[in-house]
């Protein structure tokens, strides 16, 4: 295949990725867009097989078969609640591939005694660093989400100084490597080892509640790592796709940070949600009482409501109660009420996670509303039904400047005519803060496991004549 044709086909692949992402702007065209993007990937791979001076196909074929089989199995087996772990792991694989490609290119030059040009030398170092950090950082994120590691921040005095030292050492070794004409092995191994360690140390002090930001950021890193590999092997399609993914990860991290009213620096280095940061706020719950409600009474209230807004939180997903929520909504709608879902950006464990969980339970996406779209509607709602959500409906975020979540945008559940909160007990949320909403005179608490409570509500509603 002539070189020019190969370049054009790579460009076609890049265009497939771009149009594929564009079609993700609506649920109707998204399936098609994703498949177009996959088509682009196939084109890029076939061109590479034919064009790039490949002499042995057996190793490639073996790798393709093994990787595809494992990938397909993961994609089929994963539960929707475990999607954040899956994405974390996939990020890590992408980073690992970049690390390996950069390493192999370096070792090849060392083996055949070829001098790498300045540009290749620099990009190999970047490929190693970003690839390795993405790999181990993602594995730690995966382990935290999978609860193989404790979700609370693991930190020790001097951790940030240590991280900074490691980073500077990597930079110094890389500069030394680049400045030396021949390829040296010991700085290469040192950079790889230190970068792998850095990935672990960067993610381990970040609490489980902040994982949405971390996954988004690692997603971005995996893209940048791919772009760096593109620089190493001089291939534009890698640079373009890497840049696209890099920007997507950055945007999603920003959205998540804004939704928690925190800066990226604070998320990465603040060790939020544990240790010293988890002191309770100024307001205490003493002297306040909560009003409990029975499932029967709550069902009556829901049965006669004209408009209900459901506020789902991660507790709902943990209880695997998404399907029951939809059943409850069906019952309310059958009685003439209107049901909407208010989704806070950090309701799940990754951006858009709650939407996927509800979509799995056949909730039509037209009924899912994000915070800005739905917040005005609480004033007109008869009932706000809060299920397993806490901090995202805590009015202290608006009023109590001493509260750790002060300034965080919240759902205005307290503006509804009445509020029903389904909750396991009076425990506090991730941030360890009391929630005034639960003591509001218009709020009724229905204690118990979300799944059990919802089941009771559905039965009671069905019995309601």
């Amino acid at each position: 295949m002539p070189g020019a044709l190969a370049e054009i086909l790579y460009l076609v692949a890049a265009v497939c990725f771009i149009i594929g992402l564009k079609r993700l702007s609506s649920p109707g065209t998204a399936v098609n867009g994703n498949r177009l993007s996959a088509m682009g990937m196939l084109i890029a791979m076939v061109v590479t097989l034919v064009d790039r001076g490949i002499v042995t196909y057996s190793v490639i074929a073996a790798g393709l078969v093994v990787g595809s089989a494992l990938g397909l199995w993961m994609a089929r087996a994963v539960k929707m609640t475990a999607m954040p772990q899956m994405v974390a792991l996939l990020n890590g694989f992408g980073g690992g591939a970049s690390l390996l490609v950069g390493g192999a290119e370096f070792l090849k030059s060392e083996l055949i005694g070829q001098n790498l040009g300045l540009d290749t030398s620099i990009t190999i170092q970047l490929s190693l660093l970003i690839g390795a950090v993405t790999l181990t950082g993602s594995i730690v994120a995966f382990a935290k989400l999978q609860e193989l590691l404790p979700g609370r921040p693991i930190t020790f005095p001097g951790l940030q100084v240590l991280n900074a030292t490691i980073f500077l050492a990597i930079v110094a070794l890389s500069i030394y490597q680049v400045a030396t004409p021949e390829s040296l092995l010991w700085p290469f191994y040192a950079v790889c080892a230190l970068a792998l360690l850095l990935g672990v140390l960067l993610v381990i002090p970040i609490g489980g509640a902040d994982m949405p930001v971390v996954i988004s950021l690692l997603n971005s890193y995996s893209g940048i790592a791919a772009a760096m590999t593109g620089f190493v092997i001089r291939n534009d399609v890698l640079i373009i796709s890497g840049a696209l993914v890099g920007s997507s990860g950055i945007i999603l991290s920003q959205i998540m940070c804004r939704a928690m009213n925190r800066s990226l620096t604070n998320v990465l280095f603040g060790a939020f949600g544990g240790g010293a940061a988890a002191v309770t706020s100024g307001k205490s719950a003493e002297g306040l009482t909560v009003r409990q409600v029975s499932a029967e009474d709550a069902a009556v209230q829901l049965g006669y409501a004209r408009s209900v807004i459901v506020v789902p939180g991660y507790g709902l997903a943990v209880a695997q109660a998404q399907h029951l929520v939809r059943e409850l909504a069906d019952q309310i709608e059958k009685r003439g009420g209107e049901v909407k879902y208010a989704i806070h950006p950090v309701a799940g464990r990754m951006p858009g996670h709650m939407n996927v969980l509800l979509a799995e339970a056949n909730v039509p996406y037209e009924k899912l509303f994000d915070m800005d779209a739905v917040n005005g509607e609480f004033d007109r709602a008869d009932v706000a039904l809060v299920i397993g959500a806490n901090d995202v409906v805590n009015p202290a975020a608006r009023t109590d400047s001493g509260s750790p979540i002060y300034g965080m945008p919240i759902l205005n559940a307290d503006h509804a005519r009445s509020v029903i909160v389904l909750k396991r007990g009076m425990g506090s949320g991730f941030a360890g803060i009391e929630n005034e909403l639960f003591y509001n005179p218009r709020t009724a608490m229905l204690f118990g496991d979300a799944k059990a409570s919802l089941g009771k509500l559905v039965t009671e509603l069905k019995a309601l004549a």
Binding site: L21, S37, L100
Partner: protein, 97 residues
């Protein structure tokens, strides 16, 4: 030699701005599939892995290349397949009702 690097940087910068424009249009509802789909795209590293694995530069390259192809391919196939699975859930809703 430096020209190719500069050329690459130009492409990277422009593609980043394009990415920002594209991603900002994706509704919140689709952010999880967006992420897994973007993830699959970043599996494009598999192209580099194939070049390394099939270049015939001795066993070290072959071993590292093989591992890279496996990781890259898991990223690509896993990413696209799981994205498709999720997007199907969003699509079937209106017709099912």
């Amino acid at each position: 030699m430096l020209e190719t690097l500069i050329g690459g940087i130009v492409i990277f910068t422009l593609a980043t701005f394009l990415g920002v424009e594209l991603i900002n249009r994706v509704p919140t509802t689709l952010h999880t599939p967006l992420m897994s789909g973007a993830n699959a795209i970043s599996g494009i590293t598999v192209v580099g892995a194939m070049i390394v694995a099939g270049g015939g530069h001795g066993w070290i390259s072959a071993v590292l290349g093989f591992m890279a192809v496996v990781l890259g391919m898991m990223n690509v196939v896993g990413g696209y397949a799981v994205t498709d699975r999720m997007l199907q859930m969003f699509r079937r809703k209106p017709e099912a009702r």
